[in-house]
């Protein structure tokens, strides 16, 4: 096809650019160093005396692991001696993409971090940028943020419990019940933001658009049906002897170890530490709402399951209050520019209590339209570091259950 002068000649391009590079002679690079830890015992090493250790790699394709990641397990008979996660299969260069594009352009990418909870990811990033640029958020937008965040929390915890029971072998029944409720919440998200999962809804200084007509009534109906669902769920699960036998006493995590390892979220609260960012940081308008934080006493898998169920109930309380109290008004700070948004040079760290833990965004701005440094504190990644300590001495069956209760999403671990 003919092309005008001044236009690029597209006829030569195929799906990949054909570029012929001249042959380069470079000396072969030195062999890369090992993984930095020993997985199989080497002769003369610490475990030299014991030849009966079995090294198994679980994954990356496996129905149990939450996404693509590999677990290198070293077993002594049936007991775990070492248990190292190997991830990076879903690394998508999110932080570099954030540096390369504008501040607004990074917002859709934050949806895809923890893909179950896109609205809380959006809020964390918006919070960080608002702290960086010193923006104010109108009250109505704050209430909408709280409502969407708590809905996200409910659907995340419900799905997680479903997946945990799938690992335990319950043939998917609790998962299907959780998904039934999740569908209702995702329908709410779709009528508000346009998409079910990748919402891209928060903006710097508020929310992208206001609630459509009838949304509040639909939301109230969904929220009023939720306690019935929780009762049904608990009837099915909480006093189930098999569930209790499989999860109580498994995966104990001591308070001190949890705090030292930087664990946050329901995992930390199940070990008995009273640390919920909604109460600690007073971000958003959570101070105006009345809710409690459930704490576990033993730090085992059953406590993590129960803390999540109780948190779902508390979220329902928050939702009912927020839906009652939401004021009118604008949802976006009118002074904020959409394009050429240039916050002043400086740094900010914005963190929220996402359903998985403390999700934080650290931004350094140099005064231009692109961030200088864009760093995410992923809760799933940091919660995963403690996995080996929880699983030592247990069988592989239990280890997979513990992994299920840690609640990881590979989009967040690998970014």
């Amino acid at each position: 096809m003919k092309h005008d002068p001044g236009e690029p000649d597209l006829s030569a391009l195929s799906t990949g650019d054909l570029v012929v590079e001249p042959p380069v002679t470079v000396p072969a690079p030195p062999p890369p160093p090992g993984p930095g830890y020993e997985v199989t015992p080497r002769p003369g090493g610490a475990d030299a005396g014991d030849d009966s250790l079995l090294e198994v790699a679980i994954g990356p394709h496996h129905p149990s692991t939450h996404g693509v990641f590999r677990l290198n397990a070293v077993l002594d008979g049936e007991r775990i001696v070492r248990f190292k996660p190997v991830f990076g299969y879903l690394h998508r260069n999110h932080e570099k993409l954030g540096e390369g594009g504008s501040y607004l352009g990074a917002m859709p990418y934050t949806d895809r971090l923890d893909y179950f909870c896109s609205l809380t990811n959006n809020w964390a990033y918006a919070l960080a940028v608002e702290r960086l640029a010193g923006l104010q958020v109108p009250d109505r937008a704050e209430y909408i943020r709280i409502i969407t965040a708590e809905l996200t929390r409910i659907q995340n915890h419900a799905s997680l419990i479903g997946f945990l029971l799938q690992e335990l072998g319950a043939m998917g029944t609790p998962l299907m019940y959780a998904f039934r409720e999740r569908e209702k919440i995702l329908d709410l998200f779709e009528s508000l933001t346009g998409a079910r999962m990748m919402c891209n809804y928060m903006r710097f200084g508020g929310c992208r658009c206001d609630l459509p007509a009838g949304w509040l009534e639909q939301c109230r109906r969904v929220v009023d049906d939720l306690p019935g669902f929780y009762d049904e769920f608990e009837n099915l699960l909480t006093t189930n002897e098999i569930l209790m036998a499989r999860t109580q006493g498994i995966g104990l995590l001591a308070k001190e170890l949890a705090i030292n390892a930087g664990i946050t979220g329901p995992l930390l609260r199940a070990s008995g530490v009273n640390y919920d960012l909604r109460k600690v940081d007073h971000y958003g308008l959570y101070d105006r709402l009345d809710f409690r934080v459930p704490l576990g006493a033993h730090g085992d898998v059953y406590d993590r399951y129960m803390v999540r169920i109780l948190e779902m109930r508390e979220s329902t309380k928050i939702l009912q209050q927020a839906l009652r109290d939401i004021p009118g008004g604008p949802v976006l700070d009118p002074k904020v520019k959409l394009r050429n948004f240039r916050p002043k040079a400086g740094e900010a760290y914005g963190r929220i209590e996402s359903p998985k833990g403390e999700l934080g965004f650290y931004l350094i701005s140099d005064g231009s339209t692109n961030p200088y440094r864009y760093r995410i504190r992923p809760p799933s990644f940091i919660n995963l570091t403690i996995l080996e300590d929880m699983c030592r001495g247990l069988t592989l069956q239990d280890a997979l259950v513990i992994l299920g209760a840690v609640d990881i999403v590979m989009g967040e671990v690998d970014r």
């Binding site: 504008s102 352009g105 998409a195």
Partner: protein, 203 residues
Amino acid sequence: MSLLGAGIIKGLVETARNFVGSYHDPERLTTVEYPEERLALPENARSFPMLIFDNDPVKGLRCVACKICEKECPPQCIYIVQDRDPRGKPLKFPRIFDIDLSVCMSCQICVEVCPFDAIKMNTEFELSTEDRFGGLILRREDLAKSNEYYLEIHPTEAAETDARLAAENAKAEAKSRAPAPATPAPPAALPKPPAAASPAPTT
């Protein structure tokens, strides 16, 4: 209850309730058998972008090829080439406007930044094709959809856009019909500085 088996019985009762309920209660059988049954999409649903034209797909296309959406698109899936007239002067029309669907992530930022309400989100999602590369590139002809179609799929949004555009048009028209303040042509001999000349009415 400390009787072993009580919790299991409660669980069995719950499952039985769901089993029986699935025969008479639509809440307990939530499957929608696609493609025979389809759920109505909510009004705000979005799938991929489309270009809006008023009346004529070429002459009425609202897009002026300002390339703002191409610049702001995070994954850079839009490719625009501005049209030029035979003498090389740029025209306010895109000769090429391609969106690569395999790259587009439906984030809607192009819609937000467009100053001319030219690009909006479509709701069509059944776009599968066997051609992995060419079949997923939507060209300007495929993207151009009429304003009536836009009104059909997003009534509230389209009505609000139409009202806003009509108001802007009315304001522009009112300004052009009002007598413009006289622009005295500066006499060549007068030593008046050019800054004293009255400003011309801006559009």
